[in-house]
């Protein structure tokens, strides 16, 4: 239901610094797919997600979700269909506004933000119930500014906000990379839970190869702006980290050792 066809993206077009970040990506994502995305630094993973979300315009190719061709939609319009969690925990929430105000904005994603009351009483009940499932005690702090929360709490809140209105696709770009290991585990568990509960379609970029193999039902590997590996559930279950490393090795030669790839 999501179709990416021959997607090309260059930066600094026509200058000496020209970078071909996406060199023709073809990808068909089925409804309910949970795809993990791996690849070395500069492979084009973030660029792919940014092009999907509309943060970057594309040079050529097509992006379709269902019947709609959103190749040239502006970012804010795509937000009705696509939600995302960034690597930077500060990026997904608005620090001076309260938890309930942030949730209220997310609860209107892709709809009209009009002159009605920002946070209504009925919303608060919903927010409390939703926050409770995070198990962070945030349900008692609805009016606290988000800026008071820790990075992990903010990322958990961002995840909740991204799924409050069910997106057609959820984009996660190394969303646990900036957290300490324990918090990262919690946020990851929450991710898996939310994706499963809401039967979401998701693309998750990660540098952790064990995660990439364990989670989701499909794995793609990017290199030089191309998809160089695309394996489904069955094949993925058979794969070991060594097999992925082998694949890296074959395209990157000796370089891979210096990569920030995590081996465990």
């Amino acid at each position: 239901m999501i179709e990416i066809a021959d997607l090309v993206k260059t930066f600094h077009h026509g200058s000496v610094n020209e970078v071909l970040a996406l060199a023709g990506i073809d990808l068909k994502v089925k409804k309910g797919d949970f795809i993990t995305v791996i690849g070395s630094n500069g492979a084009g993973k973030s660029t792919l997600l940014n092009c999907l979300a509309g943060s970057y315009g594309i040079d050529s190719g097509h992006i379709r979700i269902g019947e709609q061709d959103l190749s040239h939609w502006p970012e804010h319009r795509r937000a009705a269909l696509i939600s995302r969690v960034f690597q930077d925990p500060l990026l997904g929430t608005c620090a001076p506004l309260s938890i309930e105000q942030n949730l209220a904005m997310a609860n209107r994603r892709g709809r009209i933000h009009g002159l009605g009351k920002g946070v209504r009483r009925a919303d608060r009940e919903l927010f409390r119930r939703q926050l409770k499932q995070l198990g962070l005690g945030l349900e008692d702090r609805l009016r606290d500014p988000v800026g008071l929360l820790s990075g992990g709490q903010r990322q958990a809140l961002t995840l909740l906000m991204a799924t409050l209105i069910r997106p057609q696709v959820l984009l996660l770009d190394e969303h646990t990379a900036a957290l300490d290991p324990k918090t990262a585990q919690q946020v990851l568990a929450l991710t898996v839970q939310l994706v499963a509960e809401n039967h979401l379609t998701a693309l998750m970029v990660t540098h952790n190869m064990r995660q990439a193999l364990q989670l989701g039902n499909r794995l793609i590997m990017l290199h030089g702006g191309r998809i160089i590996l695309d394996v489904g559930q069955a094949e993925k279950a058979e794969m070991r980290i060594e097999d992925l490393l082998q694949k890296f090795y074959s395209v990157r030669g000796e370089e891979f050792v210096s990569d920030r790839m995590m081996l465990v």
């Binding site: 804010h76 904005m105 933000h113 002159l115």
Partner: protein, 295 residues
């Protein structure tokens, strides 16, 4: 300071209160340094003066002034968001353009309203006293303006205004077109500045094409004075601080003007220097206070 000077400062403080609320909206909420107000304040005065001279009701002339101010601000917003011109430069361009436009609106550099009716007439006729009418009416109006802004900032749209200033990436991912929010908010801010201009011209009895010079610095000084003295923990508190800051700022100026030391006295031409010093003082005061506390 005499009673009349005091009431005069209150009158100015409340009249400029709208401008200061508008400056708070752009500088603090939207994080958009907007200098358009130097042009939109006299624009409001010009529109109001011309309208009243043409026989239009003074209160309706306020509305017309606000519409004109809104358009001026929206132009700045459009220059910034649609044409990609840096916000500061975009606002300077509109401000410069407004100088010519204001001259066109009035047809001359200044206009007097002598003998014309103003928004103060009903009050003066009620016998409240000529010197009390303006502070009373402008105080009332500016509190209404504050409440209206407070209401707006708490609506769903108001949340997007705040978020556009604090985290544009976040609010874009919630499906909000930040360009639209910027255009509307800068427009609103300048409609407030124009309203200040209209009130001032009616209470002073004249509109002048040069009355906007330094508006932004005075507005910013008022915002900072307010924040320093009254805090800005919640949005309601911050709005109130801005309005009170405007009053305190005008009182401080009146006080300075009544200052005499032998042959030396402060003249209106010294006010720019004083305002700059005031802003510096307000900015360094919190740091000083912290130092004293530590001891």
């Amino acid at each position: 300071m005499t009673y009349y000077a005091f009431m005069g400062a209150l009158e100015q403080g409340f009249a400029y209160g709208f401008l200061v609320l508008g400056v708070y909206l752009t500088f603090r909420v939207l994080d958009f340094p907007d200098l358009t107000v130097d042009g939109s304040l006299p624009l409001g005065a010009a529109v109001s003066a011309v309208a009243i001279t043409a026989g239009i009701d003074p209160y309706v002339s306020l509305l017309l002034a606000m519409i004109a101010g809104f358009i001026a601000g929206a132009v700045t917003g459009i220059l910034n968001t649609r044409f990609g011109i840096l916000h500061l430069l975009a606002s300077i361009l509109t401000m410069i353009a407004l100088y010519s436009i204001n001259l066109r609106v009035m047809g001359r550099p200044n206009m007097t309203l002598l003998g014309k009716s103003t928004v103060l007439d009903p009050l003066i006729n009620s016998g409240i006293g000529v010197f009390n009418a303006a502070p009373f009416l402008f105080g009332l109006l500016s509190i209404l303006g504050l409440l209206a802004l407070l209401w707006l900032l708490r609506t769903a749209f108001g949340l997007t205004m705040q978020a556009t200033g604090a985290n544009p990436q976040m609010i874009t991912s919630q499906g909000v077109n930040t360009s639209r929010v910027i255009i509307l908010t800068v427009g609103l801010s300048n409609s407030f500045a124009a309203l200040s201009g209209a009130l001032l011209c009616q209470s002073q009895g004249a509109a002048d094409v040069n009355m906007g010079v330094g508006t932004i610095v005075a507005g910013l000084a008022s915002v900072i004075v307010g924040e320093t003295l009254f805090g800005c923990r919640s949005i309601g508190r911050a709005l109130l601080a801005a309005l009170l800051g405007s009053v305190v700022y005008r009182l401080a100026i009146a006080l300075a003007l009544s200052f005499k030391l032998g042959q030396f006295s402060i003249t209106p031409s010294d006010l720019n220097l004083l305002t700059a010093l005031l802003v510096v003082a307000a900015l360094t005061l919190p740091r000083l206070r912290r130092k004293v506390w530590r001891r």
